[in-house]
């Protein structure tokens, strides 16, 4: 390796190896050399080199399963690497566990938070930090919490129990926790996957402020616009190896980075012009109550055959209730709903399925699939009582297996087979499995929530293409989402939800990110 850990492959657009503006060129804070880590036959990381300088924000990019989390877990001491070494400020260190990592100045905010929900913000910060005499220094902790909050705009009420914090606030607490323990390098594993777009700006401001004080940051994401906006430099992983490095993310196009991530060009699908048919789903004056979250108030909307209707809005404005009503999880208080002209009587999931509704829930892991059972079980779940999979109350295991195998093949679901535990699949493959199960029976109407949340570009593109293919076949689709660009690309019409109502509906020709954004704040109504 001749002491040149940064030796990546040459790229046409990576012309300079000089670190971006404003970042001092100094000895790396952290250096990982030749890291290799296998899980059985899977090489999650292979000879990966990476370094972060003080004050630098390094983007770690890659599709789902590229090995980003594994690499960071190696750095944080959760896994011992099969080969390779880690240097902190030029000295080799052995990191066996998170305590070693923290001692070396490495802090990590995991994809799933590690907080004690019943304890307060301050108590969570003080867990495991005893003072010199073994006493807990509440006053000192409070002062530091205030200080960190002031410096980086990361304010939190110290006495609130964690259980009442929003996801964004919990993430903030995790960041503060790392700083509290003296982290010089902060790792954030897909921090924006759980945030609403408005919260992302706040996070970025805080990260820039920390970098400004000399902290090194590793920012993991597969959202290219975020990486381009925030990072000084990027390392792109593909199949566990470094596929490339980007020295000026801000001046590199998303298409170039996407190509590095996926290994091939990603062309956005085109929405062909179409002539929509009759309304296949209509909601008339739907109101709800008794639902955690914003209830619906007098919502009326319709979708025609061969049309895609987007539902935009800041999350928490009734989207969840809308999805639950349409999918039969929440019977409305008032109003009527009809599918293909037939009025819905009971609002049970089973009735709606029978009427020809396909559904993809927002939360794949808890609502969509049964993670502890074989994938095949989840794939046949909604239709287990039909002729296709059972007769007279007896299952037809051969038919179930054959169906799952066929769908795995048709949708290119990467998994060891239909009998694998569904929870072992990655998010993108789970989403494909759910899509396969709903589309296999040609729904007349499809309702999907956050269809590509957490998915990488390749998987997202696949999902988009399927939606457009269904549209061409005359299916009416409702897409509930927060990503306005995605909605503008997919949808024929976009309705905006605000405080449980439809604030207005635009045809996509009239819509723009700016206009929708304004409507989402309740500023403009449009019928």
């Amino acid at each position: 390796m001749a002491g040149r850990p940064e030796g990546g492959i040459a790229l046409p657009f990576a012309v300079s190896r000089i670190v971006s503006e404003g970042v001092p060129l100094s000895a790396p804070l952290i250096e990982m050399r030749g890291i290799t880590k296998s899980f059985g036959a899977v090489k999650a990381n292979e000879a990966v080199d990476l370094s972060v300088a003080p004050g630098e924000i390094l983007g770690l990019l890659g599709e789902n399963g590229a090995g980003k989390t594994t690499l960071m877990n190696v750095l944080f001491g959760a896994y011992a690497p099969d080969a390779g070494e880690i240097l902190v400020e030029g000295r080799p260190v052995a990191i066996h566990n998170s305590a070693d990592a923290l001692a070396a100045g490495i802090g990590m905010v995991h994809q799933h938070f590690h907080l004690a929900p019943r304890l307060t913000v301050l108590e969570n910060l003080l867990i495991g930090i005893a003072g010199k005499s073994g006493r807990i220094d509440r006053a000192g902790g409070l002062a530091r919490l205030k200080e960190i909050g002031r410096q980086h705009g990361l304010g939190l009420d110290p006495d609130l129990p964690v259980s009442v914090l929003s996801v964004g606030e919990q993430q903030r607490l995790e960041i503060i926790k790392a700083l509290f323990r003296g982290a010089k390098l902060l790792i954030l594993d897909e921090p924006t996957a759980v945030l609403a777009p408005s919260e992302v700006d706040g996070l970025f401001a805080a990260l820039r402020s920390m970098a400004g004080q000399g902290l090194g940051i590793i920012f993991i994401s597969h959202k290219l616009n975020e990486v381009r906006a925030l990072t000084h430099r990027c390392v792109v992983l593909r199949h566990g190896k470094v596929a490339g490095r980007v020295d000026h993310p801000a001046s590199t196009t998303s298409a170039e980075m996407a190509k590095l991530m996926c290994g091939h060009e990603i062309v956005p699908p085109t929405r062909e012009a179409s002539t929509p048919g009759a309304a296949v789903l209509t909601l008339d004056g739907i109101s709800t109550s008794g639902h955690a979250g914003t209830p619906l108030r007098d919502v009326s909307l319709f979708v025609r055959a061969g049309q895609i209707l987007g539902i935009a809005g800041v999350s928490g404005n009734g989207q969840r209730a809308l999805a639950d009503v349409i999918s039969g999880m929440l019977p409305p208080q008032a109003g009527t709903m009809a599918i293909a002209g037939k009025t819905v009587a009971q609002f049970s999931p089973r009735e709606l399925q029978a009427l020809g509704l396909g559904r993809i829930p927002e939360d794949r892991m808890t609502t969509g699939l049964v993670t502890n059972l074989p994938l095949a079980d989840s794939m046949v779940l909604p239709r287990i009582g039909t002729e296709a999979f059972s007769r007279k109350g007896l299952l037809d295991p051969a038919a179930i297996r054959a169906f799952a195998e066929a769908q795995i093949k048709a949708y290119d679901i990467r998994c060891p087979g239909p009998m694998v535990r569904a929870g072992a699949l990655s998010g993108g493959n789970l989403q494909k499995a759910l899509l396969a199960r709903e589309l296999a029976f040609d729904p007349k109407v499809l309702i999907v929530s956050q269809p590509t949340r957490g998915l990488d570009i390749g998987a997202a593109r696949f999902i988009h293409e399927k939606f457009l293919a269904m549209r061409a076949k005359g299916c009416g689709i409702i897409v509930i989402g927060e990503d306005l660009e995605e909605l503008l690309m997919l949808c024929d019409r976009i309705a905006v939800m605000y405080e449980g109502r439809i604030a207005g509906t635009l045809s996509s020709a009239d819509a723009s990110v700016a206009r929708l954004g304004l409507m989402m704040t309740g500023a403009e109504g449009h019928a």
Partner: protein
């Protein structure tokens, strides 16, 4: 240093190995108690083994003991599959015993009597199990607590019955009148107590496996237990599945009581069950909630129970050891189950 690391998959042989390891650990741990009681460990376990499985009579006695625990084990296994936490198999067993005893005391042809006893006992167990499940479904009452407390209610109702209307008027003992002789379950091997109910238990176990693994109801039970929200989203009527599960579970536990009345005691008394309902929980856990595993697990516990009595007589170690072994086996199994989700990894000096 060692550390637990999450597994992504569980090897199939674990299902077999874990209970065996748990049992081995249990026997090792309990050998300390035997030594403390002043007996030879090998000798004590030797007596237990020969008294429970050493000859054909011992084996039939062990099977007779195993039968009620097969039923209660199945009852618990099926309930737990749906995450209906039925801790009430004991009460359901008692209810089944009382109902079958009442039916068996009515003169009628033997075959009809046995059939009606089974039906009545199963129905009584099912009705008792209906209470906690309805409380849960309608009012979100915790089923662990309600099913457990119901055991005492049923027990004291039984006591009231045998101290009151059913009391033996000649002797004054608190025992019910016996069932008709014609209603006594036939003995399968002359000179033993091996009765028809034991064979029924051995047949019902694979039927339960078939129900769970191969029917739509079993599918719905599994899915509901693993993820009720996904089940509901997928069109399963979760409440109905829970109620069906409870009825089935209660009926199985009720049959345990039927077997004791029709095949062993021919009447009802206060100690008709030495806690077979609770042992059913241990059996189900050792069996990893697999109905087929319930049979060997129940036979193991039955062997411990019959063996412990003989060991106590031969070595002076108190027969309570049988309870300790049961409890330890449950704990060992619960710990062993951890290893289906996690593996132990050595972490030490690397690189």
């Amino acid at each position: 240093m060692f550390r637990l690391e999450a597994r992504t998959s569980t090897p199939a042989w674990f299902n077999l190995a874990l209970p065996l390891i748990a049992i081995a650990v249990t026997l090792v741990l309990c050998s300390g108690l035997i030594a403390m009681a002043g007996a030879g460990v090998i000798e004590a376990y030797g007596v237990m083994l020969s008294a429970s499985l050493g000859d054909s009579y011992a084996i039939t006695e062990t099977l007779v003991r195993a039968a009620p625990m097969i039923f209660t084990g199945l009852a618990v296994a099926i309930a737990f599959r749906a995450k209906f936490w039925n801790i009430g198999a004991e009460g359901q067993l008692l209810a089944g015993a009382v109902a079958s005893c009442a039916v068996g005391a009515i003169p009628m042809p033997g075959t009809l009597a046995m059939l009606l006893m089974a039906l009545a006992g199963a129905a009584a167990g099912a009705i008792v199990a209906l209470v906690p499940v309805m409380l849960r479904v309608k009012f979100k009452v915790d089923d662990v607590v309600s099913s457990l407390l119901l055991n005492s209610v049923i027990y004291y109702a039984l006591m009231a019955l045998i101290e009151g209307p059913w009391k033996d008027s000649f002797s004054g003992y608190p025992i019910s009148p016996p069932i008709e002789d014609s209603a006594n379950f036939p003995v399968l091997i002359e000179g033993t107590r091996l009765h028809l109910g034991v064979i029924v238990a051995l047949i019902v176990a694979p039927l339960c496996w078939f129900l769970i693994a191969r029917t739509t109801l079993g599918f719905r039970i599994r899915v509901t237990g693993e993820n009720a929200e996904a089940a509901r989203y997928g069109g399963i009527n979760v409440q109905r599945v829970l109620i069906s599960t409870a009825l089935l579970s209660g009926a199985l536990a009720g049959l345990a009581g039927v077997g004791e009345v029709g095949g062993v005691h021919f009447q009802v008394m206060s100690d008709i069950s030495p806690g077979y309902g609770y042992s059913g929980i241990v059996v189900a856990m050792l069996a990893r909630l697999n109905p087929l595993g319930v049979v060997p697990a129940a036979i193991f516990l039955a062997a411990v129970m019959t063996g412990a009595e003989a060991m106590s007589r031969a070595t002076g170690v108190p027969a309570f050891l049988s309870d300790v072994i049961q409890g330890t086996a449950l704990l060992a199994m619960l710990v062993a189950l951890l290893f289906t989700a996690y593996r132990v990894r050595r972490v030490g000096a690397t690189t």
